[in-house]
Symmetry: C2
Subunit: 140 residues, 2 copies
DNA sequence: CTACATTCTCCAGTAACTGTAGAATCAAGA
DNA sequence: TCTTGATTCTACAGTTACTGGAGAATGTAG
């Protein structure tokens, strides 16, 4: 009867900046696998769970939906997959990420410009929305 | 009685990739100002509304919450604001955006690597989660 | 003047959490 | 050992940010 060396749910939560309830929710919807349980029925997690959850939280924070994350994590499902399929999926995500990167970079540039402007004491043209719009990709 | 030259809600919706109901929702919660109305009570929009909504949708897609967007668009509220306050707000958002940019860039690198790997016909080490985790900022 | 599309308000449903209630378990100190 | 506060458990209700539908009014093309 080796003692349980896994992390309890609270430790996983604090390590990944996730709420305890959110972790249980992810397990419910199958985004995380069923956690191992201790003798008394408490969830117990290992380093792999920390990695997976950290990835999920990061991707969520970047605006990916649960379904998109399911499809992203499917890329890591192992060597038994069809290579062409995985490649197509990854390539599609790559295009998407590139677009987000561009928009994020434009937002960054505009914020930096505002900080600069306000530094100089002037504020008259802190027109963040117009400035960002002016650089939008497909002239929305 | 000049005729109404504004866009109806459906046109604003298609121009910004937003659902009609979502536009009305944004008005309800005060994220968009009350729209002008035609004689018969229909909403009518101008170019400024297109810009503002395009910005909101872009920011939402990048993972910013409605409250964060309220605070971002506040930067565009005009010259009657306190300069130091605006600067501080913009600087805070800038740090946040930089962090997101970093994470986005790492995700991009990993996706590119997978596409490369799969290109060569091998797939054994398409370990997207582990690879991304390995480059996470604060060793979560 | 039809007939079909668009808009209106109101309200119910969904996605992704977030919080709470009540009971069980754990871990540290007296 | 006993107790006392912190964690965990399940279950369910509430929140945020939409999304969709019903039924009525209005717009527009033929």
């Amino acid at each position: 009867m080796g003692r349980d060396v896994g992390l309890p749910i609270g430790a996983l939560a604090s390590r990944t900046g996730t709420k305890v309830n959110t972790i249980r929710y992810y397990e419910d919807i199958g985004l995380l696998p069923h956690a191992a349980r201790t003798a008394s029925g408490r969830r117990s997690y290992g380093p792999e769970d920390v990695r997976r959850l950290a990835f999920i939280r990061s991707a969520r924070g970047l605006g990916f939906s649960i379904d998109e994350i399911r499809s992203l994590t499917a890329l890591a499902a192992g060597p038994e997959q069809d290579c062409a399929e995985v490649r197509a999926l990854a390539a599609r995500h790559l295009l998407d990420v590139d677009e987000r990167l561009e928009r994020m970079a434009r937002l960054r540039a505009e914020l930096a410009r505002i900080v600069q402007l306000c530094e100089g004491g002037r504020i008259a043209d802190c027109r963040v929305i117009e400035a960002i719009e002016a650089t939008l990709p497909s002239a929305v």
